[in-house]
Subunit: 186 residues, 2 copies
């Protein structure tokens, strides 16, 4: 049974809460009637306002051209219920397969981009290409997040963090240390 | 009691195992007789060979000039034994304090850079500035890791992953799914 989240929109400047911890994400894209999903772990938050997010998408990926030339994508955050799908998506190519169909995932219409979002993911961040200055040299894309949706519950999703070599770290408990922070650092 | 790790050198192309999961790191730097440490969570692996690592270091940090104009730093990976130090370092400035002294950390001589490494951290990655093309616009530095050392044990350190708002996720268990990967994806 795949998860069926109820979601709410959150401010785009709040995505660090979900992405800064470093989870594996699924990148969905579309162009010229084709669509695809790829698994991705090389990413970083870059700015709060505008809400910027950078990531490496290797030119060897079937998604690369679709993402580069549409200038759009959706960053989808899977929780551990989708572990098999995350691995399957990362170990297959969209050249000969529709991965939404193959992995039983729902392509839902996004609001701000033409790329579809993945309904079964805990969160969906719709992105527009902000700067491609480092794409040729490093395959590094800088995105502006223009819409962010996250599940109402649980408060902290159990996420997958890749260490290479087929091994994932699963997110553990959270600790609140607000009382040790300066107000301006929160 | 702070940890006292025995460390070994690993290939610089292997740092993804420690950094791709998204932990908070401590960046140490030195210039003109000054030295400093900052807490940092906006980073990504960028390439295996050369071993590239990108990160955002805000121009507002006391470390910024030191890092930019020395063109060097050490990325140190703290485990949860250093949680108080990580928070303290992130909530103070090096402008009026020697953070090594204040937080009881040992500045050890690095091998390939003049910046000191932090002995009590689980891993130390010595870095030389590879590309500063995005520093002016985004405070985004691209580093080449030129030497990597990690502790002999434990195999998987318990790391801190920041979610904002004073809350950290602590790394949980690992799962091995090698059997679901294509050989060329490992």
């Amino acid at each position: 049974m795949k998860p069926d989240y109820q979601k709410k929109e959150i401010p785009v400047g709040s995505i660090r809460r979900y992405l800064e911890p470093g989870p594996i994400v699924l990148v969905s894209s579309a162009r010229d009637g084709r669509r695809n999903i790829m698994t991705m772990g090389w990413h970083t938050v870059m700015e709060f306002s505008p809400s910027l997010f950078g990531c490496v998408i290797s030119a060897g990926n079937y998604s690369f051209d679709m993402i580069r030339y549409s200038g759009e994508c959706v960053i989808n955050l899977p929780a551990t219920e989708l572990t098999d799908e995350v691995i399957g998506i990362g170990n297959s190519t969209g050249a000969d397969t529709d991965k939404f169909q193959k992995f039983g995932l729902t392509a839902e219409k996004a609001d701000k981009v033409n790329a579809p979002l993945i309904r079964e993911c805990y969160a969906n961040f719709e992105c527009i290409l902000h700067d491609d200055a480092l794409v040729d040299q490093y395959n590094f894309f800088i995105w502006e997040v223009v819409r962010a949706q996250v599940a109402n519950s649980p408060q902290y999703p159990q996420t997958l963090h890749y260490t290479g070599d087929g091994v994932f770290m699963i997110s553990g408990k959270t600790i609140n240390r607000r009382d040790q922070f300066l107000p301006e650092m929160l």
